[in-house]
């Protein structure tokens, strides 16, 4: 834990990263690592990686790894200023852009913008899935679990949260073998 005088630089760091986080907060992870670990030594390498992993395992948006990073640097206040910093600029921009576009929702320009980008958005989602799948590819059991998840969600057999619970149970059972 660090002294409160680190709070302002921490806030400023996330504030500047907010508008660079095109494609999600996760895209600025390398820059956060550089600043928090290499430059200031506020976190160890292992603490940084664990912060990202915990946020992945917890319910809620992946963005919450920012709260965990801030918490590891400076406790509750650290978590609060980090979240405020990462959210304030992007929220302001998103709300103004949405309002501007919603008055012109039927205009040719806005429709060309959203329809042109829609297929690319889907491509990015599929790529995210691929990148998340990579660490599991070495184990046939995990590949099977992944394929089962895809089919179960498409066929509407089970809710996502149930599938995650099944994944955790299989992972725990697997750790005993």
């Amino acid at each position: 834990m660090n002294a409160p005088h680190d709070l302002f630089p921490l806030f400023l760091h996330f504030l500047t990263l907010s508008l660079l986080a095109i494609g999600g907060a996760i895209t600025t992870t390398p820059e956060m690592h550089r600043y928090l670990v290499s430059e200031h030594g506020w976190l160890s390498d292992a603490q940084f990686t664990a912060s990202v992993a915990i946020a992945q395992a917890a319910p809620g948006p992946n963005l919450l790894f920012v709260a965990v990073l801030g918490w590891n640097v400076a406790g509750w206040q650290g978590a609060a200023v980090s979240m405020l910093g990462i959210l304030l600029p992007s929220t302001t921009l998103t709300l103004s852009a949405t309002r501007w576009a919603s008055t012109r929702r039927e205009s040719r320009g806005v429709r060309a913008f959203s329809q042109g980008l829609a297929p690319i958005a889907v491509g990015l989602i599929l790529a995210t899935s691929w990148l998340l799948a990579k660490p599991s590819m070495a184990e046939p059991l995990m590949v099977g679990l992944m394929l089962f998840t895809v089919i179960a969600l498409l066929r509407d057999w089970l809710a996502p949260v149930t599938l995650v619970a099944i994944g955790a149970a299989i992972g725990i059972a697997n750790s005993y073998t």
């Binding site: 660079l20 095109i22 494609g23 907060a25 895209t27 915990i54 946020a55 992945q56 917890a58 809620g60 948006p61 992946n62 963005l63 709260a67 590891n72 509750w76 979240m83 959210l87 600029p89 992007s90 998103t94 709300l95 852009a97 949405t98 576009a101 929702r105 040719r108 429709r111 060309a112 913008f113 329809q115 042109g116 980008l117 829609a118 297929p119 690319i120 958005a121 889907v122 491509g123 990015l124 989602i125 599929l126 790529a127 995210t128 899935s129 998340l132 599991s136 679990l145 992944m146 089962f148 998840t149 969600l153 949260v161 599938l163 995650v164 099944i166 994944g167 992972g171 725990i172 697997n174």
Partner: protein, 201 residues
């Protein structure tokens, strides 16, 4: 939102599923709170299921288009998406209700987990559970991507071009590791220009 502007296009679009709307601001808070708390390893899969399939607040096409805008704008995608939807229904109050629903409870949970983690980090069972949940998270996002492909059916670009763009965008990120800015420049701009051309009155 009772009318769908995209019905007015030159496509012979099938009528989209009927829309519901939230009746009060608290509905927004609880909807986003509910979907965030189910979102292990990312909220997108649950958001699509809850907002499109269950609540029917948006159609699949609208969801894909909102998501496209949310991805282009800086900031976390699902947070941008929740702000846009909250704002659409109840203005600023709705946007902040959605944001609070999305973040408050999950933040408290994740910080509690971070506090506990240091004690259990080396347990094989914990690592095993994380691995299994990671595999499911990858599958959930993959399935959501496949579902959203269906939302491109009535896109002005036409089906073939849409799928080609989807495949190219996916490969450029997954295999070539191109930064998003480059993908937007190389694929996004031409796609928008072509859509502009196709949407001519």
């Amino acid at each position: 939102m009772t009318t769908n502007p995209r019905d007015a296009g030159k496509r012979s679009a099938p009528t989209p599923e009927p829309h519901n709307t939230p009746t009060k601001v608290a509905d927004i808070f609880w909807a986003f709170n509910r979907l965030a708390l189910q979102g292990f390893g990312g909220v997108l899969a649950v958001a699509q299921r809850e907002l499109v399939d269950r609540l029917k607040w948006v159609s699949r096409e609208e969801f894909t288009e909102l998501l496209a805008a949310a991805q282009v704008l800086p900031g976390p995608n699902v947070v941008n998406l929740c702000l846009m939807l909250g704002d659409r229904f109840f203005g600023l109050r709705g946007a902040f209700a959605a944001l609070a629903g999305m973040l408050v409870a999950p933040t408290l949970i994740v910080l509690a987990m971070a506090a506990l983690y240091s004690q259990y980090a080396n347990h094989a069972q914990v690592l095993g559970a994380l691995q299994g949940m990671g595999a499911v998270a990858a599958g959930l996002i993959g399935a959501t991507g496949i579902k959203l492909l269906a939302g491109l059916r009535n896109n002005a670009l036409g089906r073939k071009l849409c799928f080609a763009l989807t495949a190219l965008a996916c490969l450029s990120v997954a295999l070539l590791h191109l930064p998003l800015v480059m993908i937007l420049a190389l694929l996004g701009l031409p796609a928008m220009a072509w859509a502009w051309h196709e949407l001519r009155p």
